[in-house]
C-alpha cells in the first residue's frame, strides 16, 4: 500500500523566490535581468530587446522548466524559461543542486590536502584547478620563484593535455546535444586516450591531486614521451574527421550559426571569459596576455571568433585543441631534466630513500602528512586560463596550516549569466545549442 506523503508535494520542493516568476510579481529591474539586458548596451540594442516584449501579454506566455534532469543541461542545471509560442522571452538559470560546500570544506583541510578538494570542482579539467590552488599557496609561501624547471614544464604539459581532454569532452557533448550522436562516441574515445595517459602519470583518470604546492607529486613515468607523441599522432587526423563530420556540414552550420549571439561589450560587462569572450573577437587569453608558468616561452596563437555565436564557440574550442597540441609538441621537445618538486623540507615530503636513513627526514615526512605546513599570514589572488575561462584562487591565510578562506573563482558560474542574454528572442530548440556552447561544468558552478 502506498501512502502519499504530502511532505513531498510540489509546493514543498520548490526553490521559492529563486524561481522565475510571472512578470506581475517582479520589479522592472528584475525583468530586465531575466531578459538578459546588459546595462552597458547602447540604446538601440535595448530597444531591440524590448521589441519582442510588446506583443507578449501575460496570458500568451508560458513558464516552463528545463532540467535539472534534462540530459542536455550538463548535469543539474535547471533553466526556467518564459515562452511565447516557441520563442524564449525570459530565462533564469537556477543552480545549487550540486552544492556541497567545498569552499567551507577547504577551510578544514590543510594546504597539503586542499588539492583533493579543489580538483573535484571543475571535474572536466581537474589539473587546472590544482594548478591555480598550488600557485596561490606558493605565492603565499614566497616560493613561487623557486619551483624547479621540470615541475613547471610538467605542469604546463598536464595543463595543456587537460585542455585537450576538456575540449574533446565538449566536442562529444556538443555533438550529442545537437543530434550528432556518433560525435559523442568519437569525442569520448579521443578523450579516453588522454585520460589513459593521465592514469599512467598520476594514477587516476580524474581528480588527480597531482599538482601540489611545491611542484608535482611524482616524476613522469618512463616512456612518457612516446605516449604523448602517440596521443598527438592519433588525435591529429581525428580532428580532421570532426571537420568533415561537423564543421563543413550544412546541417551543423544551420543549427549553430547565428544562434546565441553575444557582442564583445556585452560579454565583458557580464564578466564572461574564455571561449565565450574570444568568440566575440576579443583576443584575451591569460596564457599569452598575463603569462604564468613558462607560457611566455612558447609559440601559440589565441583563437578568436568574429560573430559571437554558438558556431564560433564550437570552432574556437576545436582549434584550441590544435593549438594545445602545438604547445604539447614544444613542451615534449624542451622538457628539462631535474627535480620535479622543490626541495624545501617544510613544504614537500623528503624522498623515500632518505626516510630509511635519516630520523629528521622521517619527522618531516610525518609532520607534513599529519599537521601540514604553516603558511605565513597574507592574502593572494591568482588567476589562470582554464578551458572555460579564468579560474582564480583567492586564499586568506592566518598563519596556520589551513587556509582561513579559500575561494575559487569559477568561470562556469560567471559564464552562466550570459545564458538569458543569449537565449532572448531565440527558439526553444536552440536553447540546447546555447547551453551546450557555454560548456558549463556544474560541479564548479555549485561547488
Amino acid at each position: 500500500m502506498t501512502v502519499v506523503d504530502d511532505r513531498f508535494a510540489a509546493a514543498n520542493t520548490d526553490e521559492g523566490h529563486q524561481e522565475l516568476r510571472s512578470r506581475s510579481q517582479l520589479t522592472a529591474k528584475e525583468v530586465l535581468r531575466e531578459v538578459g539586458a546588459v546595462l552597458r548596451m547602447s540604446e538601440a540594442q535595448v530597444a531591440a530587446l524590448a521589441e519582442i516584449e510588446h506583443d507578449a501579454g501575460e496570458d500568451q506566455t508560458m513558464i516552463i522548466n528545463m532540467g535539472p534532469q534534462h540530459p542536455s543541461t550538463h548535469g543539474v542545471l535547471r533553466l526556467m524559461l518564459e515562452l511565447q509560442g516557441e520563442t524564449v522571452l525570459r530565462c533564469k538559470p537556477i543552480v545549487g543542486y550540486l552544492h556541497t560546500g567545498m569552499e567551507k570544506t577547504g577551510e578544514q583541510l590543510t594546504y597539503m590536502q586542499g588539492g583533493t578538494n579543489v580538483t573535484r570542482m571543475d571535474y572536466a579539467s581537474p589539473l587546472n584547478n590544482e594548478l591555480v590552488f598550488s600557485l596561490a599557496v606558493e605565492k603565499l609561501l614566497g616560493i613561487d620563484g623557486d619551483i624547479p624547471e621540470r615541475a613547471v614544464w610538467m605542469r604546463m604539459l598536464l595543463s595543456e593535455l587537460n585542455r585537450m581532454s576538456s575540449h574533446l569532452l565538449f566536442m562529444a557533448s556538443n555533438g550529442m546535444d545537437l543530434g550528432a550522436v556518433s560525435m559523442m562516441l568519437y569525442g569520448w574515445r579521443e578523450r579516453e586516450e588522454v585520460l589513459r595517459f593521465f592514469q599512467k602519470v598520476t594514477g587516476l583518470r580524474m581528480n588527480h591531486n597531482f599538482i601540489r604546492p611545491g611542484g608535482v607529486a611524482a616524476d613522469l613515468p618512463a616512456g612518457w614521451r612516446d605516449d604523448v607523441l602517440d596521443i598527438l599522432e592519433k588525435i591529429e587526423p581525428r580532428l580532421h574527421e570532426y571537420d568533415v563530420l561537423m564543421t563543413g556540414q550544412p546541417i551543423w552550420r544551420e543549427r549553430l550559426q547565428g544562434v546565441g549571439v553575444i557582442t564583445a561589450s556585452e560579454a565583458v560587462a557580464l564578466g564572461a571569459t574564455g571561449p565565450i569572450l574570444r568568440s566575440t573577437g576579443v583576443a584575451w587569453d591569460l596564457r599569452r596576455d598575463m603569462p604564468y608558468l613558462k607560457y611566455s616561452e612558447l609559440d601559440f596563437d589565441v583563437v578568436v571568433g568574429s560573430y559571437g555565436d554558438a558556431f564560433d564557440r564550437y570552432a574556437i574550442r576545436l582549434n584550441e585543441i590544435r593549438e594545445s597540441m602545438r604547445i604539447v609538441h614544444q613542451i615534449v621537445d624542451r622538457m628539462p631534466s631535474g627535480d620535479y618538486r622543490i626541495q624545501d623540507k617544510k613544504v614537500t615530503p623528503p624522498p623515500r630513500a632518505r626516510i630509511d636513513e635519516s630520523m629528521e627526514a622521517l619527522i618531516h615526512h610525518f609532520k607534513i602528512f599529519t599537521e601540514g605546513f604553516k603558511v605565513p599570514e597574507g592574502e593572494v589572488y591568482v588567476g589562470i586560463e582554464s578551458p572555460r575561462g579564468e579560474i582564480g584562487c583567492y586564499i586568506v591565510s592566518d598563519g596556520s596550516a589551513k587556509p582561513y578562506r579559500m575561494r575559487i573563482r569559477p568561470p562556469s558560474f560567471v559564464n552562466l549569466q550570459t545564458l538569458p542574454h543569449m537565449m532572448r528572442g531565440g527558439l526553444i530548440a536552440d536553447a540546447v545549442a546555447v547551453i551546450s556552447s557555454v560548456d558549463p561544468v556544474l560541479g564548479e558552478v555549485d561547488r
Binding site: H99, L140, G142, G271, V347, E377, G378, V396
Partner: protein, 167 residues
Amino acid sequence: MSDDVTEVQNTAEELHGCPVIMSLGQRVLLVARDQYVSVMKALLDDTFDLCVDLTAVDYLLMPTRVVGAGIKPERFEVVVSVMSMQKHDRLRLRVQVPADDATIDTLFDVHPGTEALEREVFDMFGIVFNGHPDPTRILMPEDWDGHPLRKDYDFGRIPVQFKGSPA
C-alpha cells in the same frame, strides 16, 4: 620561505582618493564603503572593465588583523578583483563591512556580471546588497537557516535540513 610576518606594505600611492597597499606584490585598493560604487565607476573609466571576481571574507576569528593604511578592520570584507584588458593589469578592492550593519551597495549598475556573485555572497555570508535586482539565495535552498561561510556557522553536527524532514 619568507618569515611568518604579514607582507602588507603601505605605499604612498593613492587611487581615486583611496590608499593602495601591496599584498605579496599585488596591488590592493582599500575602499571605504560609501565610496565603493563611485570608485568602481571611476575604475571602469580607467579601462578596468572586466570585473573578474566578487567575494567576501568573514574575519571573525582574526580580530587583531592589520588591514594597512590605518584602516579600521571590520568583521566582513568584500573583495572585488577587476582587470584591465587594455593595460594588462589587475587590481583588487577590499571594502570593510561592519557586522552590525552588513550591507553594501550593489555593483549591478556598473558590472552586471556581478549579479550572481553578489547573490552568492549574500547566500554564504548574509551580506545584503542594496539595490540588487534579485536578492535571493543562489546555492542553498530558499528556506535554509544561516549563512554557511560565516565563521560562527556550526558545521559537522548540525541536523540535515531538508524540506519536510523530521526535525
